[in-house]
Amino acid sequence: MTERKVTMHIDWTRCDGRGLCVELLPELLTRDDWGYPVGRGGSEIAIPQNLEYAAQDAAALCPTQALRLHK
């Protein structure tokens, strides 16, 4: 098995801080004082394997399509 690292990129020009991603990835994200997502790694958040499906949901459901997954 090849080791692959999934990261999630937050596009701040699109993010409107609606909070769906924070609900779907509470292990990785919190909301700042203005409602925007905050995670370790700033705009590039490392996704552990057990949270890949949750990250895919977050990217698919983001109302402003501000999340992109990179493998």
Binding site: R14, D16, G17, E23, L24, W34, G35, P63
Partner: protein, 189 residues
Amino acid sequence: MNSVFDQALWAVGRGSGVVAIVLLTLSVLLGIGGRSGRAVFGMPRFAVTLVHRNVSLFSLLFVVVHVVSLFLDPFAQLRLVDFFIPFLGAFKPFWLGLGTIAFDLLVVVTITALLRNRIGPRMFKAVHWLVYAMWPVSVLHAIGNGTNGREPWFLVLAVFCVMAVGGAIAWRLHEDFVEYRNVRRQETR
């Protein structure tokens, strides 16, 4: 075709139209609630989005049952062209035409919503705004074209739907509609 089957088509055609109006109303309420960015109706935000999607798809399903059953039914005198081009109907062409317009808009809004992540947020949003035209047109179609459209029970239902959506739009236009709006605005002062 026997008359019992015709009666059934006629009943299903009218009933599914009433259900579609109720589901479209719920869908508009969930859509506006989701846009607020708040956890409305006792659901988390992602659930509001998913329930909005599912209720919308169910409303389209009931609209499809509505038009197909009335197409097969001999009373309504619906033709295939009435699905797509308004105001050509054999019976009450104006009110039927409103239904045609609402149907066409619903199809376009549904397709672009399902392709949202491919067509991009700007195109999606521009088309999705058509719902604010589609919903009132569909209510007018129900009242004007419906066999029971001007009976008290349906008018009471319609008034409830109009009040609910009207209230949601008033909330939508309020300056505190979006969550965190206050703190975000203070920062830019």
